[in-house]
């Protein structure tokens, strides 16, 4: 099993090694995001809102974990459609589970690298120390990675079913989640009915928890446990939906057609 997973990991390592566009995806866009929000935060600091600065910078860095994690799954498989390699992968003895495991490993590596780079830059430019979140940081990042994978599975299932017409979802779906997850503001800002929906998303607990730990220094483990529990539910549903869609795609012959699109 491991040789098949490592084959796919190696395939993406080769891809990133000489692709400026792919490396930019890990560094350039997250850094640009950090710079814009960092300077907005500096301005807010001048307005004597120091906590807001911390919250915004923390949110920018952690949001990127979720975004990259979802993109890790969707872009990796869509890439195989783009280069007409999907059939070669699907007629090899790799299982869907092994393929997803490999893509998740690539996603973890990319997210960790991005988080480290953003953490260092945030410290150098804005004196923001991400490590003040303490060991809870691992729980925040872990929960966001898991939720990103779950969202990625749903998105990818739709792309398998609807083909290139659905590719915009790769970039669109995370921004559907962002306002409800209360990334840049507390849940209390949302209308009451939307707060109920927000608490159905594991990401909401992470961003609430992050603001709490940056404010009080205390990691609220129980709410992160709720986030983890929800993540397990979403991952299970995402996996079932992805598997069912693959079954339908084989039945409808879309796999053969998708690579020709």
């Amino acid at each position: 099993m491991w040789h098949r997973i490592s084959a796919i990991v190696m395939r993406y390592f080769y891809l990133h090694r000489r692709s400026v566009a792919r490396v930019m995806e890990i560094f350039f866009w997250p850094v640009m995001n950090l710079l814009v929000w960092g300077f907005v935060s500096s301005y807010l600091k001048e307005l004597a809102l120091p906590k807001t600065v911390l919250f915004l910078l923390g949110s920018v860095i952690l949001w990127d974990v979720l975004y990259r994690s979802q993109q890790g799954i969707t872009l990796a498989i869509t890439e195989e459609f783009w280069v007409k390699n999907i059939i070669n992968i699907f007629i090899s003895p790799i299982s869907v589970g092994e393929l997803l495991a490999a893509i998740c490993i690539v996603g973890i590596i990319k997210s960790v690298v991005t988080t480290i780079v953003l953490g260092i830059l945030a410290f150098l430019f804005y004196r923001f120390n991400l490590l003040t979140a303490g060991p809870g940081l691992v729980l925040f990042v872990g929960n966001l990675l898991l939720f990103g994978w779950a969202v990625g599975l749903f998105t990818m299932a739709l792309i398998f079913r609807y083909g290139r017409a659905a590719e915009a979802l790769i970039w669109g779906v995370p921004f559907l989640i962002q306002p409800i997850s209360a990334v840049f503001y507390p849940v209390s800002v949302l209308p009451a009915w939307l707060q109920k929906i927000a608490y159905l998303l594991p990401s909401t607990y992470v961003f609430e928890g992050m603001r709490q730990v940056l404010d009080t220094g205390i990691t609220d483990v129980p709410i992160l446990a709720v986030s983890f529990g929800l993540n397990l539910v979403y991952l299970l549903l995402g996996s079932l939906y992805f598997s069912w869609m693959l079954y339908k795609v084989r039945e409808m012959g879309y796999l053969s057609r998708l690579h020709l699109e």
Binding site: Y14, V83, N85, N88, I91, R250, E251
Partner: protein, 268 residues
């Protein structure tokens, strides 16, 4: 050079398709196809565009789920043992590609790992040499000519020393010289290893040269089956090419061949 296979205990009927039907909504792409492929044979699946050749191959590879019927490859049911079968077969098509932004060697290393090859480096070198593209090993795949890409696809297809090779128009878009070289290599490998091939092509001369048996499909039905010589005689056509044109234009006039009692494969 490439080593001969040590495979043993392979069923004589290496592929057995029974009453294979595939419907996409109201369209019947394959209509009760039944045929056998004997070990070491090259079977040509022929027919005009939309006849069902690629759907049949994709059903055999598990990329498309049949509506009904069964497919057994090397004695194993494709529906239940897809991954076991895929480890022992391979596929090359003019319509698939390998990632253009990886080098030739990187692509082959990735697939060698996917198939769990030991001594991958030696295998890759011998295949690149066999298909005469060893000088491209460090080049980006996207920079190769179509002839080199076809041969790279074939290197990928031979990596796992397959017992059955599915080839979907492998020489499409090649110039005659390269196409002849590719055919020659495939025939050499087939003879050396007793390799079984299931082959689609629109080049009837190539089919006559390569295939032991051919199946003509029209709108998902088998309308002719046998060796190229038998079929030409049976249909009273002057060549396979003429028969192809006749079937492409008037396929609906041809009766379905009932092949459920196909001749058994010979014993070794």
């Amino acid at each position: 050079m490439y080593q001969e296979s040590t495979h043993t205990n392979i069923a004589k009927n290496i592929t057995e398709v029974r009453l294979l039907t595939k419907r996409f909504g109201s369209l019947t792409a394959l209509n009760s196809l039944s045929f056998k492929v004997c070990k070491g044979d090259i079977l040509g699946l022929l027919g005009p565009n939309g006849a069902g050749k690629t759907t049949a191959i994709h059903c055999m590879l598990g990329l498309v789920t049949p509506t009904s019927g069964s497919i057994r490859i090397m004695g194993l049911d494709v529906a239940r043992h897809r991954r076991k079968i895929l480890a022992r077969v391979n596929f090359s098509s003019a319509y698939t590609a390998l990632p253009s932004n990886l080098t030739v060697r990187e692509n082959l290393i990735v697939f060698a790992r996917l198939y769990g090859l030991k001594a991958a480096r030696e295998r890759i070198d011998s295949l690149l040499e066999l298909f005469e593209i060893e000088e491209t090993h460090n080049r980006l795949t996207g920079s190769l000519s179509s002839g080199q890409l076809t041969r790279l696809n074939l290197c990928k297809a031979f990596l796992n020393d397959p017992e059955i090779l599915f080839l979907d128009e492998p020489t499409a878009s090649l110039d005659p010289d390269i196409a002849a070289k590719v055919r020659q290599r495939l025939q050499e490998l087939q003879r050396q290893r007793g390799l079984t091939m299931i082959y689609t092509s629109h080049n009837m001369q190539e089919v006559e040269q390569m295939c032991d048996r051919v199946i003509f499909l029209a709108k998902g039905r088998i309308v002719m089956l046998g060796s190229p010589a038998e079929i030409i005689k049976q249909s009273k056509s002057s060549s396979l090419e003429d028969l192809f044109i006749a079937i492409a234009r008037n396929g609906h006039l041809y009766q379905t061949v009932d092949n459920q009692e196909d001749e058994p494969c010979g014993t070794e």
